[in-house]
Subunit: 119 residues, 4 copies
Amino acid sequence: MATNGDLGDLTERVRAFAVERSWEQFHTPKNLSMALAGEVGELLAELQWLTPEQSLAVMEDPELGPRVRAEIGDVMIYLTRLADVLDIDLAEAARDKLADSARRYTVEAAHGSAAKIRP
Amino acid sequence: MATNGDLGDLTERVRAFAVERSWEQFHTPKNLSMALAGEVGELLAELQWLTPEQSLAVMEDPELGPRVRAEIGDVMIYLTRLADVLDIDLAEAARDKLADSARRYTVEAAHGSAAKIRP
Amino acid sequence: MATNGDLGDLTERVRAFAVERSWEQFHTPKNLSMALAGEVGELLAELQWLTPEQSLAVMEDPELGPRVRAEIGDVMIYLTRLADVLDIDLAEAARDKLADSARRYTVEAAHGSAAKIRP
Amino acid sequence: MATNGDLGDLTERVRAFAVERSWEQFHTPKNLSMALAGEVGELLAELQWLTPEQSLAVMEDPELGPRVRAEIGDVMIYLTRLADVLDIDLAEAARDKLADSARRYTVEAAHGSAAKIRP
């Protein structure tokens, strides 16, 4: 699904990339969800031995920073492609889920509580 | 990082959601990458026993469809928050990675080849 | 935790491997769970574009087969290390969960039903 | 593949559990790898907001401890089932990979270096 703005533009670029290579045949939601998980796994591998504090400064590292950015780019590419194949508007799905979470985790109840973080 | 358009708007909504609940303290890149992986795991769980063909029709299922959409919303929320904390422009990172992949997987070489699919 | 049999032996080998390299400092449950997820991501990447039927024959492929076996070895290494650090007996934890699942998914109710598969 | 000892026993229990419910049809390597990733995602979700230090004491928590143990049991169940379906001996695959890693990360070179941790 093409949306307006930067997400719509990205959706069209990723789709064109797949179509030009005749990869639509492989891009079922099942396969794309596995590819998405694979890329998230690569992202975790970059951060796994860092402390939470070190992870906050990871973009300042001349080696790790670009690698983390590239992995996040990969994750976004597959998420965009998956949403396109399922005809889901990514931003809208996220906004709807956020509104749902806002009802479940009110500001009062959730304030500062780690146990309640499930946006 | 706030970007223009729908991604910028979503980034600000997700940030406000966290700030209002004083959750910034938990939102290190390391923690957020784990939360992202957790949500991707929930997405996989919805698709794991479907055939690739069944997964293509998942949005037509009145029970599974909304669940898949909600999981994708969750994944997008954490990815947006992670990018915000790292000051990465999600759409730009994806476009850059796509351009890089276009150089590595030319249309001629990659046409229809599953082994070469690594966008 | 060392158990008897092949799991106990493996637990000790993996522990010695870490101790010899002074890696205990990095092997917190949080870090190890990320490493585990990273290796599972690599496993998914080997299988993502295969059909379920192709995945059944993956060990016959002279290139893919050894790669899949190596990824499964990596997953098992990190899972064993994680259980050791948490003092959990892997086989016992699995048997207990299986007994729990047997109560929740009786043979009669679950027979052949994909929707109910959550062992 | 049944192996001797506790792993062999577990393999047979998990296989019987699946066979009794006629779930072999769903247990392709592709599907099982997704189920494995889903369970690892649930494990990550239990640990995501903890500091590495808190994660070291997670088994002392009367609520979190049993949940973490159950998730690890689930991960082990699916890993065992996946190895069985692929006719891979889990302990042997892990030992072989560990021997391979020992050659790549010598004690001298890797001592205390996080960057080199990839057992």
